[in-house]
């Protein structure tokens, strides 16, 4: 198994011309951990990957692997493996030759190289594909070959740039779970880039949320979801409603509210008022059936923007019709 390396980014700054892509960015990545850089497209997360891998050199700050500054070390000498969004498999080489590519450059003895390839291929479940060319593989298989190609070299750090984005939704969920298992098995320090918050929440040990090249928050997925550092993080990681109250802003997740239809016998204003929970009047605009829950859009003056989003679990699929007057009772909230 791979050596568990630490990675630290210290005050990284990089700009393309006048546009700041990354600004005074610092991050500690724990050895063997799975860290995700999460942010909207154009936030600088791919630039960060290219700074770590050595394709770009920072204007200021430094990248340290195991405490060693990587300045001036070319990408081919950094021991950083990379899985690209489009996989970048060499189309003129078979799967085996693709896996062999880096080992050949390292001049590994042939038998050792082949043993390594076959071992990795077995672990990744691609041992039966070695003779194929990349265009003869499915998206998920290509993805595993790309991963294997990086892993056989036993890199200190593994970087992945939105590796699931070219898979369809169902396959994406499947590969996501596999990816997590593989990373645990290999124990390799991994930095993963995505703009998909669901992917980030489900995969990571730690998430770094980035906007406009500036780090917004780092923490465990739970931390980032339940205790966002600011409005941007709250809004980008999951859906959020904001309620301004007494000079502060409360964040309320859609599943933290309950809708009660006025006049259906279950709810009456007097009982709500006596509870300590916050109750807000509103009108249902529309709803969408999501399977396990129903997502309502509710007109509500108290919520920033005037429209609240509320998720209600359902076992029957019966929804409160549009136009109904409702009371939103806030079960839980977080003060930003």
């Amino acid at each position: 198994m791979a050596e568990r390396a630490s990675l630290s980014l210290e005050h990284l700054t990089f700009s393309f011309g006048k546009v700041d892509a990354v600004n005074d960015f610092s991050l500690e990545v724990q050895p063997g951990s799975f860290t995700t850089l999460l942010g909207p497209s154009g936030c600088g997360k791919t630039t960060l990957l290219r700074l770590i891998s050595g394709f770009l050199e920072p204007a200021q700050g430094c990248v340290k692997i195991n405490g060693i500054d990587q300045k001036g070390i070319a990408p081919d000498r950094r021991k950083v493996g990379m899985v690209f969004q489009d996989y970048a498999l060499f189309p003129h080489l078979t799967v085996e030759q693709n896996l062999l590519y880096g080992l050949k450059i390292q001049k590994k003895p042939k038998d050792e190289a082949y043993a390594l390839i076959h071992q990795t291929a077995r672990l990744l479940g691609i041992a039966n594909l070695l003779e194929r060319y990349p265009h003869e593989l499915s998206g998920g298989q290509q993805q595993r070959v790309a991963l294997g190609r990086a892993l056989v070299l036993k890199p200190l750090i593994l970087l992945m740039d939105e590796p699931l984005s070219s898979l369809d939704a169902k396959l994406r969920a499947l590969v996501r779970e596999e990816l997590q298992d593989i990373q645990r098995d290999f124990g390799i320090t991994t930095v993963y880039v995505t703009h998909d918050q669901e992917e980030a929440l489900s995969l990571s040990d730690s998430i770094a949320v980035i906007n406009h090249g500036v780090l917004q928050q780092t923490g465990t997925p739970q931390n980032v979801y339940f205790r966002p550092a600011n409005k941007f993080v709250a809004d980008f990681v999951g859906r959020a409603n904001f309620i301004e109250q007494g000079g502060g802003i409360k964040m309320v997740r859609p599943e933290w509210m309950v809708l009660r239809e006025i006049g259906d016998g279950h709810a009456d204003d007097s009982r709500a008022a006596t509870d300590s929970t916050l109750c807000l009047p509103g009108t249902v605009i529309s709803f969408a059936f999501l399977g396990e829950s129903i997502r309502y859009r509710v007109k509500c003056e108290a919520v920033t923007g005037g429209i609240a989003v509320v998720d209600m679990r359902t076992s029957t699929g019966d929804a409160i019709p549009a136009g109904s007057s409702v009371i939103l009772s806030v079960q839980n909230s977080y003060d930003l």
Partner: protein
């Protein structure tokens, strides 16, 4: 496959360094000498003498006319093949390509045999005692010579026009002709413009055709040559070259602008060819377009036939008896053949290799000087071949370098560079840059990325570059005419000399053998490519 990484990195820097030095020594230094050869009075005499005014006017006139007709024929031919649904479509689409890989002297020589004073058409068929040498002859020869290039550019443009645009116009009730004039033609304008500019530069610097069939109709490209050989007047010769370069550079700059604008525009009209069935041309249009293609094809086939017939006839136009004497006499020209093929081969290889390195370094790395090299690599296309040959001769003379074989190879290599550079740049542009990054992250240095990833994935572009360079090298006259010496005779120059002396049989026989050998070498190349291609992925 063995590769020491550190050496590989250094090797790439060294390779890049030698490319930069090659460009400085072999492109910029000769041009520098040309600029400082003429004295002030040479400029004055050129700009005031009526002789040169006529040559300038002639050059402008033939440039406009030949360019116009080349593009007209090229576009109509392309339309016929791509959209016109002509009969024998596959056959007709191959003819311009065949013509493009035919050494250029075939055109000039066959013109003499067909339309000269003893020409088959002018003398034998029509019984006239005239020739078509001069403006009209040159117009026909150049049009036939350059239309295949226009054809290639226009085919690309027409393929890029989404047929559903034409169908929707049809659906709104427009007639076939109306669709053509309101949709297809306007959408072809970028391609047509690009073809016009490209061919105008080629016509300006064309030397072979006006030399052979121009007669008394003098153009600048030829005058550069006659001034130096006839009058040993290098100053005037250089001034004429510089005068010729002015419009070439203007056209060259315009062409680059158009190319850039085109790529932006094509992105907005959405070039993807939909799988919807093409609109069917009417029967009348089909028949007339087929007749048009047949006529052009006939003209091209007649050129080949004239060469073959000329090679086996005792005395063209006078004694048509069959003879093998001319063909068997080619043995005398073995050194010419060997030189021509050898120099062309080496030059094609060199220019493809240099263009490959230059295209990789300028477009996919951050090496120093890459921006300036991008310009310098394309510069020779704006320098008329005769002028560049003269420049190399002057520079070599000043530097006391007298190896004519090396000078010929340099002149050819530089002449071919712009084409090779362009074709390889666009070939590389089709490969995702993540392939480079992927290889780099697996430990490959730059040279390794080029040799193990880009080159194997670009065999098509590399081969096209080599083939086109090789064919032009075999037939080239303009760039080398000042550089051939007693020790380095060239077949193309010998064919010209023999034809000028009226030794048409010998000239045709030599041309025939050279063409056959060229085709054989290309055939071998095709075979090698197809062996390679089998292993290459097709997306």
């Amino acid at each position: 496959m063995r590769h020491n990484m550190q050496d590989g990195g250094r090797l790439f820097v060294m390779a890049w360094g030698s490319v930069v030095i090659f460009f400085i020594l072999c492109v910029l230094v000769p041009l520098f000498f040309i600029a400082f050869t003429p004295r002030l009075e040479d400029f004055v005499s050129v700009l005031t003498s009526e002789r040169w005014h006529i040559a300038m006017k002639n050059t402008a006139l033939i440039c406009i006319c030949s360019t116009f007709f080349s593009v007209l024929i090229g576009y109509v031919y392309a339309y016929a093949v791509v959209r016109g649904n002509v009969f024998l479509k596959t056959f007709f689409s191959g003819i311009p390509i065949l013509h493009l890989i035919t050494p250029p002297f075939v055109g000039g020589l066959s013109f003499i045999l067909l339309f000269g004073r003893q020409g088959f058409v002018t003398h034998t068929l029509l019984g006239l005692n005239v020739s078509l040498y001069g403006f009209w002859g040159l117009l026909i020869a150049q049009t036939l010579c350059f239309f295949p290039i226009a054809y290639l550019i226009c085919v690309q443009t027409l393929h890029g026009i989404n047929p559903s645009l034409e169908q929707s116009a049809r659906g709104m009730g427009a007639s076939g002709a109306r669709v053509f004039f309101t949709v297809t033609l306007p959408l072809s304008f970028p391609g047509i413009l690009s073809a016009l500019l490209f061919i105008a530069v080629s016509v300006l610097s064309d030397f072979g055709n006006p030399m052979i069939v121009g007669g008394r109709f003098r153009v600048l490209a030829v005058e550069i040559y006659t001034q130096l050989t006839g009058w040993l007047n290098a100053g005037v010769s250089a001034v004429l070259g510089i005068v010729l370069m002015v419009p070439s550079i203007v056209l060259f700059v315009l062409q680059n602008k158009v190319l850039k604008a085109n790529s932006a525009k094509i992105a907005t009209i959405g070039g993807k060819t939909s799988s919807a069935p093409r609109q069917k041309a009417g029967m009348g249009a089909r028949i007339s377009l087929t007749a048009f293609c047949a006529l052009v094809t006939l003209a091209i086939v007649a050129q080949f036939l004239a060469i073959v017939a000329g090679a086996f006839q005792k005395l063209w136009g006078i004694n048509p008896a069959f003879t093998l004497a001319h063909v068997s006499g080619v043995v005398r020209y073995v050194s010419e053949l060997r030189n021509s093929l050898g120099f062309a081969f080496v030059s094609a290889l060199l220019s493809t290799a240099i263009a490959c390195l230059a295209a990789y370094a300028t477009h996919r790395t951050a090496m120093p000087f890459r921006r300036s090299l991008d310009v310098v690599a394309q510069l020779p296309s704006a320098v008329p071949g005769t002028l560049f040959g003269l420049a190399v001769a002057l520079a070599a003379n000043a530097l006391k370098f007298r190896n004519s074989a090396v000078l010929i190879v340099i002149a050819m290599t530089v002449g071919f560079l712009p084409f090779s550079y362009r074709i390889l740049s666009s070939t590389f542009a089709q490969l995702k840059t993540t392939l480079d990054d992927g290889a780099r992250s697996l430990g490959a240095d730059r040279l390794h990325v080029l040799t193990t990833i880009l080159v194997p994935l670009s065999t098509g572009g590399l081969l096209s570059s080599f083939v086109y360079d090789f064919v032009r090298g075999v037939g080239t006259l303009s760039a080398v005419i000042f550089l051939v010496s007693f020790n380095t005779p060239l077949a193309s120059v010998r064919i010209l000399n023999l034809a000028e002396q009226g030794d048409w049989g010998k000239s045709a026989a030599l041309a025939l053998i050279l063409t056959v050998v060229t085709f054989m070498i290309l055939g071998m190349g095709r075979y090698v490519e197809s062996r390679f291609k089998k292993r290459i992925w097709s997306e």
